[in-house]
């Protein structure tokens, strides 16, 4: 009777020690959910969700502070992915926020005065230039976030939508012609 008790106590102490050690050794730094949400977001860093970048928005979603329908660049598909990830209902876009086509910024180099304000605003360092020198957009790095538009004092930056061409063209979903019901 006593020996059985000792054995049980011994096992519980051992297991407790193992669990305690693993809790320290294999501790997960940060919230893994944030990383997962951040991986789904489009990384335009545009701030249209009201947060300064995609990571802060992901953190806010993980905390449950804000809805999943605040990311226009992600489109409805982005909302669907977030809904699947978090196991919540799909929410349509709120008023004033809707999906937008892809675009890149374009600097009118004749008008640019070289003030560097847009360079400071760009979240992904996609603008090349220096003080009193003409600036230009590195189109391949531009996420189309539009954050460079408001600071420009001479309004020389415009957004150019990306047209469909041979390289980015996609096959469409085959249209199904419905068969007329027999009257």
């Amino acid at each position: 009777m006593i020996s059985a008790l000792w054995v049980m106590i011994g096992i519980s102490l051992l297991l407790g020690a193992v669990l305690g050690y693993s809790a320290i050794k294999f501790k997960v730094e940060g919230n893994p959910l944030v990383e997962k949400i951040d991986a789904v977001l489009p990384q335009t860093q545009c701030g249209q969700c009201g947060y300064p970048g995609c990571k802060p928005y992901a953190e806010a979603i993980a905390k449950g502070e804000i809805g999943i329908n605040k990311c226009p660049p992600g489109g409805e598909e982005g909302i669907q992915k977030l809904a699947d990830l978090l196991g919540v209902e799909f929410q349509p876009f709120g008023e004033g926020a809707g999906p937008k086509g892809k675009a890149v910024a374009f600097i009118d180099e004749q008008t640019c005065i070289g003030c560097t304000l847009c360079i400071q605003a760009c979240p992904v360092d996609a603008i090349a230039g220096a003080a009193k020198q003409m600036h230009t957009i590195i189109a391949s790095e531009c996420t189309g976030c539009e954050l460079c538009l408001p600071p420009c004092p001479v309004d020389c930056i415009t957004m150019e939508s990306i047209e469909e061409n041979i390289t980015n063209w996609k096959w469409r979903h085959p249209v199904i012609i419905p068969i007329k019901a027999v009257a």
């Binding site: 990384q43 970048g53 995609c54 469909e164 041979i166 063209w169 096959w171 085959p174 012609i177 068969i179």
Partner: protein, 556 residues
Amino acid sequence: MRTLFAFHGGVHPPTHKEESTRTPIAQTPLPSKLVIPLSQHVGNRAVPIVQVGERVLKGQKIGRPEGKLSSAVHASTSGTVTAIDMQLVAHHSGLPDLCVTIVPDGKDEWIAHRGVDISQTSHSDLRHLLRKAGVVGLGGAVFPSDLKTDAHHHKIKSLVINGAECEPYITCDDMLMRERATDIVRGANLLRELLHAEEVLIGIEDNKPEAIAAMHLAVEQDKHDKMEVLSVPTMYPSGGAKQLIRILTGIEVAAGVRSTEMGVQCFNVATAYTAWRALAHGEPLLSRIVTVTGNVTDAQNFDVLIGTPLEELVALAGSKPDTDRHIMGGPMMGVDLPAGTIGITKATNCIIESSPKLFPPQPPALPCIRCTRCADVCPAELQPQDLYWFAKSNNFGKTEEFHLFDCIECGACAYVCPSNIPLVQYYRYAKSEIHERERDKKAADLARERHEYRQLRIERDKQEKAEKLAQKEREAAAKAAQAAATPVATPDDTQQKLIEEALARAKAQAAAAHPQNTETLTPEQSAEIAAIEARRAKIREMAADAGADDEPPKSH
């Protein structure tokens, strides 16, 4: 006698090959203009190196390859460049792409060209010549041949030469083998040497007895002992690279594996022919054999200059007035062409003039009844009915799990489907959606990385600034403490000291302004400096040259 193997599935559509094989290959007259697309190959579009108004000669390079995966484009005849602009091209999208338009001057004047002594030229130089000659796979994939002949990574045992030509209506390879077998065989031998392959297996479907006989004769005449011409059973799609490799060698090329990793490389017969012409005669890829058939009075094969407008070519074969569309390629895998003005490209093996009588419009698609006839005929051993189900419902993760990317889009499934479902279109849709997602993911990862680095940099700058400020404050405090400790100097002393200090500084500056090590030089040192300057000038010159043309070949 070699044992042949079978691949899974396959279909037997009516071949319709007799119509276009009755007459020999015809030469086409010079067209009124040439519309030459700069993107006729897999990979980056060639960069135009001619100007509007410039006179070009036949065989002159007009597009330089850009990056590794690219190929050169040449003027098919002599004439004047009249436009470099966006024009409709032979592509599923029906969208325009950059083309060079040349109006021929009628002289057909060649640029200086000559072949090389193949046995005396290094393999890397031969590959570079293939790239310069714009040689790409003419079986339909248009993959640059110079990259396929690089045998450094894997040991190649068998070289498969594809003369199966399994798709209905197309006879361009058949006619090429009948009439120009010797050059094909020499080209095949050349490719074998480039790849260090042990054997060459030429696979031809048994519905082309004349071509098989011609190729046999050519192999015997040239006494190629490592080459074998093999007749394979007629079955669509035995001309698919993976399928023909399976038939001839029994090797099953697994998903996501290149055939070269299994010791096999595959080239089309027309590619072997073109490679031979390019190396032995110095002729770049300027023309190809095109079958014109379908709703025409005289279906036949033509030797067509690249860039010849489609309507001028079909007029030669007598296109009938009730033709409603042009198909490039065969009826199973072909592309509907958007207009009659588009130029013939390196990928154009066949033009089928279509009429409602010849190819009646598809009846509407009915629901899938899961009869799995498609699975029975699928040469890639997929489950097309499941792929259809997932692609239709945008469940792309599942389509990848079911090996969508092993689908060769041969159309055998759609051919047998009793519900007339356009299955291949669903697979193409799913594939391009998946590619788009991959592109987006890559862009997002790049943006995330750049954003995080920017945050890091801003944070670092802030810290450095704060540190500097703290340092300055500390110094100022120390100075103040020192000033308080030392007794106050007399005004005269201080002024004298300041003047002396300023003089010393000025002297030091004057000394620093004149670099003095060049003033007392020995003649040897001067000579050395001159030599260095000459080398620099040469390097600059070479860099300018390399910028103007593509890189020189790397010798091994």
